[in-house]
């Protein structure tokens, strides 16, 4: 126990007496942890933005005004039993008007153009698919002969042809971005681990004589290693504090401004709801990189028995 306290005390003392070296190592550690946290933020921001875009892709089927509610519900039931359909919502002429008013509440002229008495808006079925990649079978159901008379003559389905290709492209891009983001984060982690390993190795190289002296005075290997590992772990702890503080102030501070371009709500939520998880994971990564690097770097100087 007293040995453990001494090891920690020595680690602290070394940290402050080699302040330049400690500052450099802590800086590299901070950068590493910030990069890791940032690639995580960027990947999940992109992923959730894409998810939202994809979510917005739903199929609307516009029906003739002559179609009764019962007929529409019949069609709705058929579609709901079709595979890959998440949900089908019936939007009546009145619902469509309410939506229209909500969307154009700031434009008086547009509001005045459409009244309940003279409502040109068609009734429709809004279909949400489980997988946007498999929309074609749903369209096939809509185009069945039994429903042919229900559909509006002009553009009955809210997208066909070209738009399908756009959706396909967005889906393809989202998968690519997810994979690229994961790969980039992985690469950053490897590169920064190497940099940290090298920094700690140099730190230990400058103190190899100290290690030799300690051995000659009769210190056990763990008594020598302990302070070095503790010191390197300390880089990780301080690096975590700085990088988390940095990322938090950035995300919570700049999030609202960026909200128009990308979906920051999701990130802000992650940050707000899991502070302990984020700090914990960062701490774990930082301390592990530090401790393992110093252990590896020291192994060659520990050989002198």
């Amino acid at each position: 126990m007293i040995q453990l306290i001494r090891i920690m005390k020595t680690g602290f003392r070394n940290f402050f007496r080699n302040l330049w070296l400690s500052t450099a190592a802590t800086a590299v550690m901070t950068i590493t942890l910030t990069i890791i946290l940032f690639s995580y933020i960027a990947t999940s921001a992109l992923t959730s933005t894409i998810a939202q875009v994809v979510e917005k892709i739903d199929v609307s089927v516009y029906l003739k005004d002559t179609v009764t509610v019962a007929q529409a519900n019949n069609m709705k039931a058929t579609l709901e039993s079709t595979p890959n359909v998440e949900s089908v919502t019936f939007v009546s002429k009145n619902d469509a008007l309410l939506i229209y008013r909500e969307q154009n509440k700031n434009n008086k002229e547009l509001l005045a153009a459409v009244t309940p008495e003279d409502n040109p808006l068609p009734q429709s079925l809004a279909i949400k698919s489980k997988d946007v990649n498999k929309i074609d079978p749903i369209i096939a159901v809509v185009n069945r002969a039994q429903f042919k008379d229900f559909l509006q003559e002009k553009d009955p389905v809210s997208y066909t042809g070209e738009r399908k290709k756009t959706i396909d492209r967005i889906v393809g891009a989202s998968n690519f971005i997810k994979q690229a983001g994961l790969l980039a984060s992985g690469l950053f982690v490897i590169i920064s681990t190497l940099i940290i390993f090298n920094t700690i190795r140099m730190a230990i190289f400058t103190r190899r004589e100290e290690i030799e002296i300690m051995k000659l005075v009769g210190a056990t290997n763990w008594f020598i290693r302990g302070p070095f590992i503790f010191e390197a772990a300390l880089y990780g702890v301080i690096g975590t504090v700085i990088s988390v503080a940095l990322c938090y102030s950035l995300v919570l501070g700049a999030g609202p401004q960026l909200g128009t371009y990308i979906d920051t709500q999701n990130i802000t939520n992650i940050f707000k709801s899991n502070p302990f998880l984020i700090v914990g994971v960062e701490l774990l990564i930082g301390v592990t990189i530090g401790a393992v690097s110093s252990l590896l770097a020291m192994s060659r100087y520990m050989k002198l028995s």
């Binding site: 001494r6 003392r13 070394n14 300690m214 051995k215 009769g218 210190a219 056990t220």
Partner: protein
């Protein structure tokens, strides 16, 4: 206290550093080992501190047969032997007090005991008032005193001084030798290696002369003759 029986050390490149050394050093002796550079002095010292392992023969120090010491017990062995080096080997980032205290810390001594013992030993070697200085702030003679204090703090039965005066001017060198004699009077066996002819001749103690890895002379009250 120290017993070497037909000890030979051969390095991997087949060069023989010491060969067939038979040596007995009794308790409370003050022994000087002399020899020109490369004669095998350093190897002999390294065998005693277990920095090197002999190729053949037996080494028994303080009743411990080195053949039976496992490598993870070597630190415990070193704690029983005080060693002083030519280049002092002090920890540069620690104060005088901390350097001496380190020797006690490694063996798990209590803080209370450390606080009591270190000032006593520092006073013994004449370093009172230098406790908070770092090694680079004090003179070579003072650094060697710190090293001696560090060796003494664990009250070893044997003190090995490997050319302790090699880096010192004559005045400081003599002060260190006088300190070693004082320690010897308290009952510690001292093994000293040196190149300094004046010191050896003035000491009038047992002198062992080594040449080409062999003991060529072993005299009570010997003189420097290399």
């Amino acid at each position: 206290m120290i017993l070497l029986d037909r000890v030979t050390k051969m390095y991997p490149n087949k060069s023989v550093a010491v060969s067939g050394i038979n040596l007995h050093i009794g308790p409370k002796e003050f022994v000087t080992i002399v020899g020109s550079s490369g004669a095998g002095k350093s190897t002999l010292i390294k065998l005693l501190t277990r920095e090197e392992v002999q190729t053949s023969g037996k080494i028994i120090v303080g009743g411990v047969d080195y053949d039976t010491v496992e490598s993870n017990k070597v630190p415990h062995l070193r704690r029983k032997i005080g060693v002083v080096f030519q280049d002092f080997k002090l920890l540069p980032n620690r104060t005088v007090f901390e350097n001496v205290a380190f020797a006690m810390e490694v063996s798990g001594a209590k803080n209370k005991d450390i606080k009591r013992s270190v000032p006593k030993v520092l006073q013994l070697v004449g370093l009172k008032g230098k406790e908070d200085n770092f090694p680079h702030e004090i003179s070579g003679g003072e650094r060697q005193r710190v090293a001696i204090a560090r060796a003494l703090i664990r009250q070893p039965k044997i003190l090995i001084a490997d050319e302790p005066t090699g880096n010192l001017d004559p005045k400081n060198a003599w002060e260190i030798i006088e300190l070693l004699l004082k320690i010897n009077r308290f009952g510690t066996t001292v093994v000293l290696t040196t190149h300094n002819k004046e010191i050896v001749n003035a000491l009038k103690r047992r002198v062992i002369t080594i040449n080409r890895g062999r003991i060529v002379k072993d005299e009570e009250q010997g003189r420097y003759a290399v």
